[in-house]
Symmetry: C2
Subunit: 479 residues, 2 copies
Amino acid sequence: MLSFVRNYSILPKTIKSLSKEVSSSTNHVQHVKGWIKSVRLLKNIAFIDLQDGTCTDALKVCIPIENSKETEYVRRLKTGQSVSITNAQCKMTPEREQSFELKISEPLKSISIIGNVTLDYPLQKKAHSLSFLRTQPTLKHRSSYLSSLMRFRSHLELSLFNFFQEHDFTKVSPPVLTSSDCEGAGELFKVQSSSRDNDSYFGKPTYLTVSTQLHLEIMAMALSRCYTLTPCFRAERSDTNRHLSEFWMLESEISFVDSVLELTRFVEEMLKNSIKSCYEQKNELLPIITPDNSLTREEILKRWESLLHKAWATISYTEAIGILKKQHAMVPFPNYEPKWGESLQTEHEKWLAGEHFESPVFVTDYPRDCKAFYMKANSEELPGNETVACFDLLVPEMGEIVGGSMREDNYDSLSREMARRKMNSSGELTWYLKLRSEGTIPHGGFGLGLERLASYLFGSHNIKDAIPFHRSASGSIEL
Amino acid sequence: MLSFVRNYSILPKTIKSLSKEVSSSTNHVQHVKGWIKSVRLLKNIAFIDLQDGTCTDALKVCIPIENSKETEYVRRLKTGQSVSITNAQCKMTPEREQSFELKISEPLKSISIIGNVTLDYPLQKKAHSLSFLRTQPTLKHRSSYLSSLMRFRSHLELSLFNFFQEHDFTKVSPPVLTSSDCEGAGELFKVQSSSRDNDSYFGKPTYLTVSTQLHLEIMAMALSRCYTLTPCFRAERSDTNRHLSEFWMLESEISFVDSVLELTRFVEEMLKNSIKSCYEQKNELLPIITPDNSLTREEILKRWESLLHKAWATISYTEAIGILKKQHAMVPFPNYEPKWGESLQTEHEKWLAGEHFESPVFVTDYPRDCKAFYMKANSEELPGNETVACFDLLVPEMGEIVGGSMREDNYDSLSREMARRKMNSSGELTWYLKLRSEGTIPHGGFGLGLERLASYLFGSHNIKDAIPFHRSASGSIEL
């Protein structure tokens, strides 16, 4: 007897759907297609591992070999070919990792090659190194590891969206083309119409967004809670394993929150919810074999468990500097001495999260001059010691993955701070300031680098692998 | 007795959550915040309609007025102010549209103004016209209609994502920065680093993507099924109510499908699934009052019902031209005579879907030279009559909202077609061609303009309202 979990009638069956549908020991499979991951030819039997990228597991196909014609035929099968398997029997194999395999009886009739590969086809049965795979941008996602990472990222995104939806957030799409540079910080990419004069398409200089926050604040003052997942762009000069010129940022703004601790609690809850959702799907999501320099399956699971079971620490920047200074006195940091008033360096961030807390840690209330103009000032502080109500979430090995703050919602305070920083000289941010004079509200928000989060949770050490085609300072743009 | 549907403890209550939680006639509400939509002051009582953008319904707050001090206090309340209401009683009103209202007893204690508005605050109690709202880009989303449209779009996106996930698709993020122009068609936006010489950031000319399809095909040959929702860019010269320079495109590629009818069936199923999901949430999603030039709530519902209850027609381009010619002979189209071999014009598309079929219609198999190079040729056709295995989905009033095709998966055929079109002269598309020599497979896909779909389903007639901050040829980029 067959039993079907879902109705897949619109499209042909995938290997993933097959695995879910199979529930008995005698199941006829009329049709399945995929790419050959490996072939093993023994004396009287051959095995194909077939993959189609919809799940981690490959589908094992057993082929009895009865004569030399069949041997010859199977010899033509190679890694990378696309093939169609028809008329197979499903055999349950509860004792093995894969719970079932297919068996065909007439290889010449049941296996047909759809698309061949060239003699140069670079992927082989063995697991390739990431540095090799990165040289194969059109083929690398056919490797088990990188296809798992893509499926993982997809799952992660949807789990985040669901969490927002459950909390009455609206998903919005703020513009990528903008005339403002948000934080006044990063290196910008400038945009021109290829067929018109400079700057004339929109009538003024146009840039690619570095953060959608300012626009999101408009939306949060209408919808209370909003979020977006949008590509953001920074013409970075640094090209490290934590930097991309084009990356996807999950940004959110929340109205009617009063303190930075409400934001950190929300972020912790949000991330733990996603990690839990990944954990529940661990068999589907995790790769079986992982390359050097990446966490193994077991290590990833341990990372997730540890993230879920601990309450994440929260300390102020001032406390963090105290801890870092003490450490620096014992074992000096290689490049930077920790000093109150200066940004935390990556080496400080990684040490704090990775070695001191061995856990993600929220660092709050940074000095005003380390952070952007829109962050809400903490009150009652001595001149020179002013801090803002903000946080960075630091995680082991990666450093910062989320940054957020309360936004200055008082017109006069924001106006003074912009003047102090000599901003808005030509009125380009007057619209932003004026939001504070029409039904202003306490609000805050955060931005999360999706590739950094995916990389960290998946235990891969280079965020360039967490996006299908990376753009970075030293990278090519051939594709 | 109170009963709570969900745990909202991480963040303060929204008006949406309040509506879901209220289930008894005596419910104490400690705290709720929002913006005043309207105030009505009568002799011994006043009413506030409070909105927070999380749902269509405003929350009615009843305020008994007992003395002149309270009258004075309530007189200070104005549309647009953000306020906090504390210590209220919930009263069930099953006889009215809103099933409950709040009642406070001491207005001076229970209502506090968080943020005032200026005397110039442009939004009033009455519904504003869309043309007026478009002049208020920082405030317009506080209107009931446009906030409903934003929530609708958000719901629509998530329903599409869920459908893809249920069908074993992986959500991927192809690049926005690219060196190719995909279809060789549109006007491109060119990108430069603001701090480096022209073209030198990535070492070659860099553009904003007009379609992610070519990159998606790489992913589909690894993951079998993938989709993305990505901003796409066209430096259009035309500025109509159907065009944006920056728009979000839902694109998908599907491996192992063999015919264009599998694609149209999938698209129809996908859209009907989303419409069904919207229909189930109609009370939450639909605006109560709609502006002139937009469908009313009842008309929107009728549109959805009609979309769900009909099977959508499918005709070939050649059949479409036949029908159009017949019509043209009776009532000539204002601008273009329908002719085999030429693209369907918007007036033709709108007439076919809107008047002839009164339903969405898939038009398939367009002449080869009307369409892009990568579409799969139909076989056995006479020279001059060659068509490709493609489709456009036309809907009444809007015209095309989805376009898709089978992709040419044969190396030689694709190579010949590229040569015929004098493409790939400097090898820039060799990587794309070579995909056909490494495990090629029959595959196809489509692209859907999200703003067009949202507009059409929401019955709004200008896609500029379906995106929070529109970018178009004649538009400003002030924000």
